[in-house]
Symmetry: C2
Subunit: 458 residues, 2 copies
């Protein structure tokens, strides 16, 4: 029971929440010692959460006051937008001292978001062996397995006995704190199999390692993208996997706890990108938030104006029948919503690889059916509503027909746009929404107003 206190009640986050308010009060009243004492035993993850709830200057004051009681692991739990200014305020010497204490994958996580100059300044304060290890890992591409891995692992030759392996583990001090698989390597350090630690523990000392039931290894090339790493861990239920260099030599391991973060990040990326936000900006200042969100609003402005141009084509029609201006946003709104439903399912299915070229045809046909059924339903509902409202049967039918056409257009574009973007090598989450809603806006306005001009006014 020597490890840090972690909130394990059903109200874990709420407890940290309350503590954060106490700490803020203490800091505001200048009771720095009280504030530090209140958080001293927190788990690093909870302390990071608490720090994020404070104002920027309070964060610095609290960490300064904690001094050597500050758990370096806290840094890897912080959001980047909180961590960077904090490291800035506390200086490269402090940062170097902290980063040196971290496991190599956590050190990389903290450093990789900084500018090269900041990295150099901090690295200068890290002792040589750790420094070069971190530098090596930073040379792998961003978001690659090489940056995600830990450089510590346990590997033994296949001719060893279980007893030899256990003696080696007992005698070697410099091993990871916790590990789940022991890798069997050939003389060139290429992994040929893995044994779960629990299986070793259950075997007699005289059994050769190679005779234990080996796990098929999922070798992870160091340059593999973390999204693909996460996919494999998830699909095959892995707990750890060996990372290899180009020559196939074992150079590190990735464990599932690192991957859990990646899975959550990747899903979050999809959510945010669908909404036109590149990454979470909760902790980013207002000015910077605007800078990040504005490009998407400009794209939307351009497509909205495109839709307006379509309306402008029918100015005379609208002048003669203003009810058209009243009803037209309903047509585009329904199309936009139905399109968003379809494209979201498609984007997710592409991300989880449940939608591929093998079943794309079937899914397109299905969505076409969905669009037709939705369309017929809302043709009827829409026509009745417009008839009751305006008492004009031809107008009501035009409204219903436009709804039908637009719901079919929504279905087709909702599945084809993400598929096409994916095929062209783009992330379908990034631009699908704007393309599909442009389609539904343009088709919706054009179809409703053109039908009206043709059927009602000529």
């Amino acid at each position: 029971m020597t490890e840090a206190r972690a909130f394990a009640s059903a109200e874990a986050a709420e407890a940290v929440d309350r503590l954060a308010r106490e700490v803020r009060t203490a800091l505001q009243e200048g009771r720095l010692g009280d504030a530090a004492r209140a958080v001293r035993d927190l788990h690093a993850a909870d302390l990071a959460h608490l720090i994020q709830l404070l104002e920027p200057e309070e964060r610095v004051a609290l960490v300064r006051e904690l001094g050597s009681a500050f758990d370096p692991d806290t840094l890897s739990h912080l959001e980047e937008a909180v961590r960077e200014p904090l490291l800035d305020a506390l200086g490269p010497e402090w940062a170097g001292h902290m980063v040196a204490e971290l496991e190599s994958d956590d050190a990389v996580e903290v450093l990789e978001e900084l500018s090269e100059e900041e990295q150099r300044e901090i690295l200068a304060h890290i002792p040589a062996p750790e420094r070069s290890a971190v530098e090596d890992q930073l040379r792998f591409p961003e978001d690659s397995a090489g940056r995600l891995m830990q450089r510590d692992f346990v590997a033994v030759p296949d001719y060893w006995l279980v007893g030899q392996t256990i003696d080696y583990l007992r005698a070697t001090p410099d091993l990871p704190d916790e590990f789940y698989d022991i890798f069997i390597v050939d003389p060139r350090m290429r992994p040929v199999g893995g044994v779960p630690v629990s299986r070793v523990l259950r075997s007699k000392r005289t059994v050769p390692m190679r005779e234990l039931k080996l796990k098929k290894l999922h070798l992870i090339p160091a340059t593999l993208d973390q999204e693909e790493v996460a996919f494999r861990f998830r699909r095959y239920g892995l707990v750890s996997a060996p990372v290899v260099d180009e020559a196939g030599r074992l150079i590190g391991t990735i464990t599932v706890d690192d991957v859990v973060d990646v899975i959550e990040e990747e899903a979050e990326e999809d959510i945010l990108r669908l909404a036109g936000v590149s990454e979470t900006d909760l902790f980013v200042p207002a000015g910077e938030t605007v800078r990040r969100r504005v490009p998407w609003l400009f794209v939307n402005l351009a497509t909205a104006i495109l839709a307006s141009v379509v309306i402008a084509l029918f100015e005379d029609t609208i002048a003669r029948l203003v009810a058209l201006a009243v009803l037209m946003p309903v047509v585009t709104s329904m199309g936009g919503n139905a399109g968003t439903q379809t494209l979201t399912v498609a984007v997710r299915a592409l991300a989880t690889r449940e939608l591929t070229w093998a079943n794309a045809g079937r899914v397109i046909v299905k969505e076409l059916w969905v669009g037709c059924l939705n369309g017929l339903l809302f043709l009827a509902v829409g026509a009745v509503i417009a008839l009751v409202w305006f008492g004009d049967l031809p107008l009501a039918l035009v409204f219903g027909l436009a709804m039908l056409v637009n719901l079919v257009a929504a279905a087709v574009s909702g599945v084809l746009v993400p598929l096409a973007l994916h095929r062209l090598g783009h992330d379908p989450a990034v631009a699908s929404t704007v393309f599909v809603t442009t389609v539904t806006d343009v088709v919706g306005f054009f179809c409703f107003l053109a039908l009206a001009q043709w059927l009602l006014l000529d």
Copy 2:
């Protein structure tokens, strides 16, 4: 290397994809044996993926042909919409035979989605001890830790020595295939600590278990919701955790591979709900898909008509200045987009508990600033565009002003609506979009048309 073949190349999913096409051809040409041989060595997860790519009747044919070579684990990897009809087609006897082979958590996953009658029919074909174990677990609430856990675990009393523990593990055949922590329990079976297996392996036989550095346990009550379970695993980087009953007695364990699925599911739920889809319906037939998606479209129809009513208030104004009809959708579209950006960040931050009542005030103030800055920017941009297009300065200024007001409304509602829904105990992902876009539509149309009537026409 005795375990099943799993695709570990960078093109894992694509390889299964290609294989699926071969299998389909073989099935269509009646070469059932070839089809079965092609998939015989696949990992259960890959086989499930491949099955999902087939047509419903092909799925049944392939599984029938595989016979006893069908890996029961495949069932737990299938999407519910694929699994249910497959179990139906193959009958309760086959299903019972397969489910009996699964670990208890996987058996529960397969059975819990079925009707009570189907469950009973299948359970009748499962041998008594496994049956009652599964029945016990099904009594826990849906989406609870009790359903997620495995009932097998390794627990020893704290007075045992490492050597005794190892001897017990070697001598006991009926243990989980792989485990990561050994739990230390008191005489009443209440867990008091845990030791990672790797730590046991590295310790001398004469050391008492209680003297090993114990891990602080995160006890999971069996009735805890799986979302909270996933939150704890993720925050504290857990690999396994003990599940306890009301009396605090150890009754099972949850391992991280089960939690990875939950994390992905919960994030996916948020994505889909924001788009008005309750759960992924990729494999659901068109008719049922419509039934699931239509309620949301009706809600959207209602709100769109509410916005139309606002427009109808200004029919005379529009009849006198048709340019208003051309520009008004731009105002609402910009508001809708900016609101979606804000609400998505807020919904995610609530889900990851980064947004709480401790920092809500700060976030609201920040988003208000973002709205004002966005508003001023698009006031200027919009006014210039409208001026160039219509050559009418007063109209251009009204357009810009409406944009400003609506972008501020978007920011405020984008953060207040999710917070309020969360406070009221609702899932903010479910209804935030509809509330916020209703606000931006109503405010956008009203403000633009009212300003125009007041400033341009009176």
